[in-house]
Every structure is written in structure tokens, then in C-alpha cells.
């Protein structure tokens, strides 16, 4: 398959694309946080006087919010600065602005703070050392609790031939977008204006308004090019601070994180412990019990979502007549939990696949046959009683089995081949709007998301707009607007762009072509074409150059305009199954089965992935090159989570490997050849039956590597990542 040329290749290869870190405004100041020096304690004093006395330096602390900005309706639950109590290390105590980065650092160093230490809960093991042997329900550390059940779980467990129970642990992984968070804020008259590298300009606007207690209408967010998001740039982070400093100083303020702080302060997936219990009778799963402890750090908003959305992935795409799931969000002295590409789904898939493979082995059953025979089919029911729509996971699994058989036949001793699968639900339900503007030369798609690299906007939406209007791709242009002019969109997350905005484009295209048909005196929708460089419309018996069909006002305004929106209908869940907490319905089921061949070093336990194949149900593929690139990149990212990536906190709440040398993402030589195949014929909710593809490719990867590793050497590793040390321990080499 040849890759289509990307519309953004030119500016990115010329070095002229302006990212968040590149924004440069004359006279701008440089900002930095004053970080908390320990992870938990009561602030006795915070002395900002020496820092404030430095030339050109402005310092804002907790008391300045009210002093500078009045008693607005600020979000009381999420304060910008530690108030009274510090709850994680490096939590912002204050923020400084200075004429240079060097002077900003000097100002931070001039701040003195006295904090009385309090006991630190660094991790789940400190919080609940006896778990799963102990109960956690009444602990004040529990920030959210979700509980659901269905069927007669007790009876099934009592009547089972075998009950298999295991405990799994998964590590914290970081997004590692190569561009750190960065923005430049300015006050322009009454407008709070910020240019920022973000997945969601409207999300930043909403979030900043709530944090600062000012109306959304007074904030304008303009997205820059984004140097990778992966979930880490989905809501506001530095923007409110930069805007506050800009307001206080009257100068533009640049706030960019150094990479070490990117690790220390970034909101990402935190560790979890999962207890899996499975009751089997006559070779079939009869009932399952899943319990989850999820570290959510100091998260306040989002803690329900973290548990209520994640836990559905712990049953996997597998049929179970009776189940009970219970999840606890546990507060620790870490930074807040945040989304990371397919939040927590790769970890869940690792647990589910490894456990079911283990169950099959214990019962002397074929692991692949056992899993394949329980896979969801269309029309079956999920955890929450939702009906599964068209879903190609079983077909993908069959393709994966054929590949695995062929690879096994060729694999030398010490190599192992394994299959893992996983599913994802895309978030097409979140709202999206677009505006199409057609002029005699081209079609412009005006929308509010920036291309973050995945291709969902510049490849995906361009392809959709071309296909629904009949115009060639080089006649379609994407125009981004800032939040004061762009149609509302909730942002690039949840693999939703293609589905949600693609459907909005479809709707707008219908309106546009109907208007043109009317002007041609016909019914239905006009057909568009390009002839001698000009766009023509044809309907009924008539055909005319677009330039003749536009009104003078439309000529002045740049073309004929039509709007489209897409808000998917909400999917009902079966409330009878929910005992407590908030659960979230899934919208569009995408699934994949992957195959890995690995080699394990018998002396060290080091795992090397030799080759890899990915089979994806992505509905209708709208841009083959971009789709393949998404899968290749997602698999590589998953290989990091599988083998090397682990953010490690010490007992005193310090992130010890806050850098790219110690937190190891895959390098070029460590990613094996990856073959990609799409399983078509299972239509999704997006345009022409497309399904989102940003997140699904990472989901099955750690599971696949773990199963292949067990096949290679017998090591049953129940923790992520599968570092050489963990594999060696499982092999009793250590």
C-alpha cells in the first residue's frame, strides 16, 4: 500500500509549522511554577517577597487570585495553587513570570516555603497493603466507587468445576508527546487570548473559564500545530496560569514545560491492581468477578470516569452470563490521573487476555480456541446490557490465528507466538459541528480541531469531504478557526474526529448540494465536478458554473455556506445492573486481534519482538495510508507499554525516572516489522460506516506480547511492563 501524500508534509518538512513551543511574541515574559518540595504536608508559610523584589519579576500565589480577579465563580474543587495543604510533589504553590527563562528560574529559587510534612500515600500498596485480602470500601482514600452485577454470580461460582483467581498489576505510563506543553497568553483589550498546543481548543476555553471564574465568551483559544497529544493535551493545563500572568503584567507570557516537568506534572495513566476470578464449567466461562483498585492520584473531576469507563474493559470482548465488577478510585499523593491513548484499555486487555489464556492452560484447553469461542458477536450484550453493533473482532481473531499458525511453523527454539485482542468504544457521541464554504475554486471545511498528527483531520476529514461532495481531494481545504470563529467541537479525543465531524460534514454537504439543486430549478442534490479549473454544479437537466450560482453576497462572503452537526443518540444502559457509581455507555465497537513473535533471552529474560501483525475492524477505511500509519504508530507505542515503559514513584512520592533516558520509549531499532490488515464489512457509526482508529491499535499490544512471551519461555508475568527483570523472576532466574 502506498501512503498518500499528507497535506501537512510541506510545512512540517520546511520547518515552518508553528507549534506551541515556537510561538514568539515581542516582549513576552517566561513563566515557571514554584513547585512543592514534598508530596504531602501543611503549608506553614509561603514567602514570595524575595522573588517579587527581583527586577522584572511578577509572582502570583493563592492570595492573588482574589486580589487581582475579584470573587468570580471559580472552580472551588480544583484550585490553581496548593491551598493550605500540598497533596503531590511539585504541585504549583505559585507561578512566576520574568524576562527570560534564566530569570524565571532564579525567581523560583528565591521563594521560601515552610511545610509541615504529613504521611505520604505514594501508591496502592501503601494505601491497601492487604488487598485483595482486605476490604477497602469505607476508607477515606476511596475517591469513587463503581459496582455492577448481572446474573446469579454466587450460584455459578458454587456450581463451577474450577474457579481460577489471579492478581495483576499494571504500571503508570506516560504519553511522551515529544512537544512539551506550551502556550503564549496575551490580554487583548477585554479578550483573554491564548495560543496553545492542544487537542481541544474549546475544552481549554471551557476549563479555563471555570478555573478562573470568567465567562467563556471573554476567552479566545487559538490552537497551534500540536507535537503529539495522545490524551495529554486534552484539557487546560498551563493556559490559566499564563493568562493570569498576562493579566497581572500587561505583557504576553510564554509558559512551556521543561521535559522533566512534563513527566512530573503530566496527567496520565497511573498504576492499578486487578483481581480476576473466573468460574468455569464444562469448558465454558460461567461467571466472573473483577475487582479493580485504580490509582487516580489527586484527581478530583474525572475520578468517576476513570473507574466507570475503564472497568467495562475488564470483562474484555467476551461473553459472560453472570458477572460482578467493582472498582475503586484510590487517592494517592501523585499528580492527577489523566487520559493516555485509549485510557487504561491496553492495561485491561493485558489482564483479561493473560488471565483467560491462563484459565485455558489450567484446564488443558487450547487458549486461542477458548478465547475465540467466547468472543462477542453482533447482537450480544455488554457489561451494561448494551447491544453490540457490527463488530469484526471474531473475524480479526480468525485472521490472526492463520498468521500465528504460519509463524509457529517457522519459529526457531526460544521464540514464541501469541495472539491478543482488545476492543474500544469510540466517542462519536460527543458533539461536533462544521461549516462548509464552497467557492468557484474549492471547498473549505471550517472546523475547530487542529490536526494533531494522527491524520484524522487532514487525511480523514479531507477524504470524507471529497467523497460526499464528489470534488477531488486537492479541491478540499481544511480551515481551522480560533474559538471565536470556529464551529463548536469538543476536541480530538476518544477516536471521535472521523466519526463525529465526518458525519457533520456529510450533513452539511447534503444541505449545500440541495441549495445548489434548488438554484438549478431541480430537486434532490446537485452533483459537483471540476472542469477547466472551475467547480460546476449539475441537477436535473441543468448544469452551471458555480460562479454563476452564487449570489453577490455569497461572492463577497467567500462562497456558499452550509452547516452540519453530529450529536449521536445516547445509548441506553441497563440500570438494573448498576448497584453504585457512574458507568458510561460505549458507542461504537471497534476491535482488533494482534499477533507477535517474540524471542526471550534465556539468561536475562529480555524480550525482543521479532515480528508483528495487526488485524483491525475499523469499519470502512476512508484513507488507507493514514489508517495504516495509525496502526503502525499505535502498535509501537503499545510495545513500549508492554516492555519498557513504567513511571516509577518512590515511597516519598517522587517520580524517579522523569526523563527520556530512564523512562524508555521504543527506539527505531526496537520496533519490528508490523503488517497491517483491515477487516471490512462491519459498519460503524461514522461516515460510510467508518470507525475511529486513533486509539484501538494500542489496546491489544501488551496482551499480545505477554501471551507470546509465555509461549516462548513459559513465563507467566502478571505485571506490566514485561521488563527483563520481571520475566527473569517468573522464570526463577532471579
Amino acid at each position: 500500500m502506498t501512503a498518500a501524500a499528507r497535506p501537512d508534509a510541506g510545512v512540517k518538512l520546511a520547518g515552518t509549522a508553528v507549534f506551541g513551543t515556537d510561538v514568539d511574541v515581542p516582549g513576552m515574559l517566561w513563566a515557571a511554577f514554584v513547585p512543592a518540595p514534598l508530596a504531602h504536608g501543611r503549608i506553614r508559610s509561603l514567602d514570595l517577597r524575595a522573588a517579587r523584589a527581583l527586577p522584572g519579576v511578577t509572582v502570583l500565589g493563592p492570595e492573588d487570585l482574589a486580589r487581582f480577579f475579584g470573587p468570580g465563580e471559580r472552580d472551588q474543587e480544583r484550585s490553581l495553587f496548593a491551598q493550605g495543604e500540598v497533596v503531590y510533589r511539585n504541585q504549583p504553590l505559585a507561578v512566576v513570570a520574568a524576562p527570560s527563562a534564566l530569570e524565571a528560574r532564579a525567581a523560583v529559587a528565591a521563594v521560601t516555603v515552610e511545610i509541615d510534612p504529613l504521611p505520604i500515600i505514594a501508591d496502592l500498596e501503601t494505601a491497601f497493603p492487604e488487598w485483595p485480602g482486605s476490604d477497602v470500601g469505607a476508607s477515606p482514600l476511596v475517591a469513587a466507587h463503581v459496582h455492577a452485577r448481572h446474573g446469579n454470580v454466587e450460584d455459578e461460582f458454587r456450581g463451577a468445576d474450577r474457579v481460577l483467581s489471579e492478581t495483576y498489576r499494571t504500571a503508570s505510563v506516560h504519553q511522551v508527546a515529544l512537544e512539551p506543553h506550551a502556550c503564549v497568553a496575551e490580554i487583548r483589550g477585554e479578550v483573554w487570548y491564548v495560543r496553545t498546543s492542544t487537542q481541544s481548543p474549546f475544552g481549554v476555553r471551557e476549563d479555563t473559564a471555570s478555573l478562573l471564574g470568567i465567562p467563556e465568551s471573554s476567552i479566545v483559544v487559538d490552537g497551534t500545530w500540536v507535537g503529539g497529544g495522545f490524551g495529554g493535551k486534552g484539557s487546560s493545563f498551563l493556559e490559566p496560569y499564563a493568562l493570569l500572568l498576562a493579566r497581572a503584567t500587561g505583557r504576553p507570557v510564554r509558559f512551556a514545560l521543561g521535559y522533566r516537568d512534563e513527566f512530573r506534572l503530566g496527567r496520565t495513566t497511573l498504576p492499578a491492581v486487578v483481581r480476576m476470578e473466573t468460574a468455569v464449567k464444562d469448558g465454558r466461562i460461567r461467571a466472573r468477578r473483577v475487582r479493580l483498585l485504580l490509582d487516580v492520584g489527586t484527581s478530583l473531576p474525572g475520578r468517576d470516569f476513570a473507574t466507570g469507563y475503564s472497568i467495562g474493559f475488564l470483562l474484555g470482548p467476551y461473553r459472560t452470563d453472570a458477572f460482578e465488577v467493582e472498582g475503586y478510585a484510590v487517592r494517592t499523593n501523585k499528580p492527577p490521573f489523566g487520559p493516555h491513548r485509549a485510557p487504561f484499555a491496553p492495561q485491561c486487555a493485558f489482564v483479561v487476555e493473560s488471565h483467560l489464556d491462563h484459565v485455558a492452560r489450567e484446564l488443558n484447553l487450547d487458549g486461542e480456541e477458548f478465547r475465540a469461542s467466547h468472543l462477542w458477536r453482533e447482537g450480544e450484550s455488554t457489561l451494561l446490557g448494551q447491544t453490540v453493533g457490527p463488530f469484526g473482532i471474531a473475524a480479526a481473531f480468525e485472521r490472526a490465528r492463520a498468521t500465528a499458525r504460519a509463524w509457529r511453523a517457522e519459529a526457531p527454539p526460544g521464540h514464541g507466538v501469541g495472539i491478543g485482542c482488545g476492543f474500544w468504544s469510540t466517542s462519536t457521541g460527543a458533539g461536533g459541528e462544521v461549516r462548509l464554504r464552497l467557492d468557484p475554486q474549492r471547498l473549505v471545511v471550517l472546523e475547530g480541531e487542529r490536526e494533531i498528527g494522527s491524520g484524522s483531520v487532514l487525511a480523514g476529514l479531507t477524504a470524507v469531504a471529497s467523497r460526499v461532495t464528489g470534488l477531488p481531494r486537492d479541491r478540499v481545504a481544511i480551515e481551522y478557526g480560533d474559538t471565536s470563529v470556529a464551529p463548536y467541537d469538543s476536541g480530538v479525543y476518544g477516536s471521535r474526529t472521523l466519526g463525529a465531524l465526518g458525519r457533520a460534514i456529510e450533513e452539511a454537504s447534503v444541505a449545500l448540494r440541495r441549495t445548489l439543486a434548488e438554484r438549478l430549478g431541480a430537486r434532490g442534490q446537485a452533483e459537483l465536478s471540476v472542469e477547466r479549473g472551475e467547480i460546476y454544479a449539475e441537477a436535473g437537466e441543468r448544469r452551471a458554473a458555480l460562479t454563476l450560482l452564487l449570489t453577490p453576497d455569497e461572492h463577497d462572503a467567500g462562497g456558499l455556506v452550509a452547516d452540519g452537526r453530529h450529536y449521536a443518540p445516547s445509548r441506553l444502559i441497563d440500570d438494573r445492573r448498576v448497584l453504585s457509581g457512574t458507568f458510561y455507555p460505549y458507542t461504537d465497537f471497534t476491535g482488533a486481534a494482534h499477533v507477535a513473535e517474540v524471542a526471550v533471552d534465556p539468561g536475562t529474560g529480555a524480550v525482543r519482538v521479532v515480528r508483528y501483525a495487526a488485524f483491525h475492524d475499523a469499519g470502512t477505511v476512508v484513507d488507507a495510508g493514514a489508517a495504516q500509519a495509525q496502526v503502525e504508530g499505535g502498535v509501537a507505542m503499545g510495545l513500549g507499554a508492554a516492555l519498557t515503559e513504567e513511571a516509577i514513584w518512590s515511597d516519598d512520592g517522587r517520580l524517579v525516572n522523569a526523563g527520556l533516558l530512564d523512562y524508555r520509549i521504543p527506539t527505531l531499532g526496537e520496533v519490528p516489522p508490523i503488517s497491517v490488515e483491515f477487516i471490512e464489512g462491519f459498519a460503524g457509526a461514522g461516515p460510510f460506516g467508518a470507525k475511529g482508529l486513533g486509539e484501538p491499535p494500542i489496546v491489544p499490544v501488551p496482551a499480545t506480547v505477554a501471551i507470546a512471551t509465555r509461549a516462548a519461555c513459559g513465563a507467566h508475568v502478571t505485571e506490566l511492563p514485561l521488563s527483563a527483570e520481571r520475566v527473569a523472576r517468573a522464570l526463577k532466574l532471579l
Binding site: 501512503a3 498518500a4 501524500a5 499528507r6 501537512d8 508534509a9 510541506g10 510545512v11 512540517k12 518538512l13 520546511a14 520547518g15 515552518t16 509549522a17 508553528v18 507549534f19 513551543t21 515556537d22 514568539d24 504519553q175 511522551v176 508527546a177 515529544l178 512537544e179 512539551p180 500545530w225 500540536v226 507535537g227 503529539g228 497529544g229 495522545f230 521543561g258 521535559y259 494533531i452 498528527g453 494522527s454 491524520g455 495510508g625 500509519a629 503502525e632 504508530g633 499505535g634 502498535v635 509501537a636 507505542m637 526523563g659 527520556l660 533516558l661 520509549i665 521504543p666 527506539t667 527505531l668 531499532g669 520496533v671 516489522p673 508490523i674
Partner: protein, 158 residues
């Protein structure tokens, strides 16, 4: 080293940059004094390769290089024009192979590939070229398309 002028030939143009502090990194001189923002700032610790430029034709991490250290050198960055034929060829191969997504590692990768080809030539063993790119991180592509770009360069006539 104290502050003083740094003389560089940047992308074919002689530049004298006054009052560069001794500890200033070449990365910051390029980005903030010469406003050449195509060279990207990633980790600033030499681990990611996003800041790679060519100094006298050899690839160099501009975040670990002081501007004064390379006083008098020729520096090539991603902004160099199409008459720099090697960089132009690398750019064309990246475009043809779709070897970029978010684009943040791209300038560093392009310069690293150009530096490698200048040093080893397109006839160098494939493994040697790929190993030479181990210091450039990419989080989006899984490197697959970047490897395809290198393969394109190897099969083209120089």
C-alpha cells in the same frame, strides 16, 4: 566562557550574533536569537534527537552544544533552501513515504538522515543506517514509514 559574539554560517548565510552568553546552547541561539524555530526543542538532555542540526556537515544535538563551541562553523538547519541537495532529497523521501505525523521529530530526523548519508553514503548497509537513527525518537509513526523513507533514499541514484 564569557558572553561574546558567535560567528556562524547558517544555511549559507554568514551571521555574527553579538553578546551570546557563554552557557547558551546552540539550540537556543538558533531558535530565539536567529528565530529559526524549525529546529525543535524536546528534552534538552540529548535523549530525543528533535534538535538535531548539521554542524560542518555532521549531525549534532544542538541542545548539548554550546553556541561558542561551534564558533566559526557552518550550521545547516531544516530551514535550508532546496539548493542544499542532500536535505532536499531527504525531505522528498519523507514526503513520498509519509514519514511524519505530528511533525515534531521531523526536522531532527531529516537532519539526522542527511548527516548519516553524508557520512556513510547511500551504499552503506541498511542496518548501519538504521542503527544511526537510534538516537532520534518518534512517538507517532512507529518508525515504519521513516524506515521506508530511508529505503527509498537507498534505492535512488544519488
Amino acid at each position: 566562557m564569557t558572553a561574546g559574539p558567535v560567528r556562524l554560517n547558517v544555511n549559507g548565510t554568514a551571521r555574527v550574533i553579538p553578546d551570546v552568553p557563554g552557557p547558551e546552547r546552540l539550540l537556543d541561539t538558533l531558535r530565539w536569537r536567529l528565530k529559526l524555530k524549525g529546529t525543535k526543542e524536546g528534552c534538552r538532555t540529548g535523549d530525543c534527537g528533535a534538535c538535531t542540526v548539521l554542524v560542518d556537515g555532521r549531525s549534532c544535538l544542538s541542545c548539548l552544544t554550546l553556541a561558542h563551541e561551534v564558533d566559526g562553523s557552518a550550521v545547516t538547519t531544516i530551514e535550508v533552501g532546496p539548493d542544499e541537495l542532500l536535505v532536499a532529497r531527504v525531505r522528498a523521501a519523507f514526503e513520498a513515504a509519509g514519514a511524519l505525523q505530528c511533525g515534531y521529530c521531523t526536522p531532527g530526523f531529516v537532519m539526522a538522515v542527511a548527516g548519516l548519508l553524508r557520512e556513510r553514503g547511500t551504499a552503506a548497509p541498511r542496518e548501519e543506517l538504521l542503527e544511526g537513527l537510534g538516537g532520534n525518537l518518534c512517538r507517532c509513526t512507529g518508525y515504519a514509514a521513516i524506515v521506508r523513507a530511508v529505503d527509498l533514499l537507498r534505492t535512488e541514484a544519488p
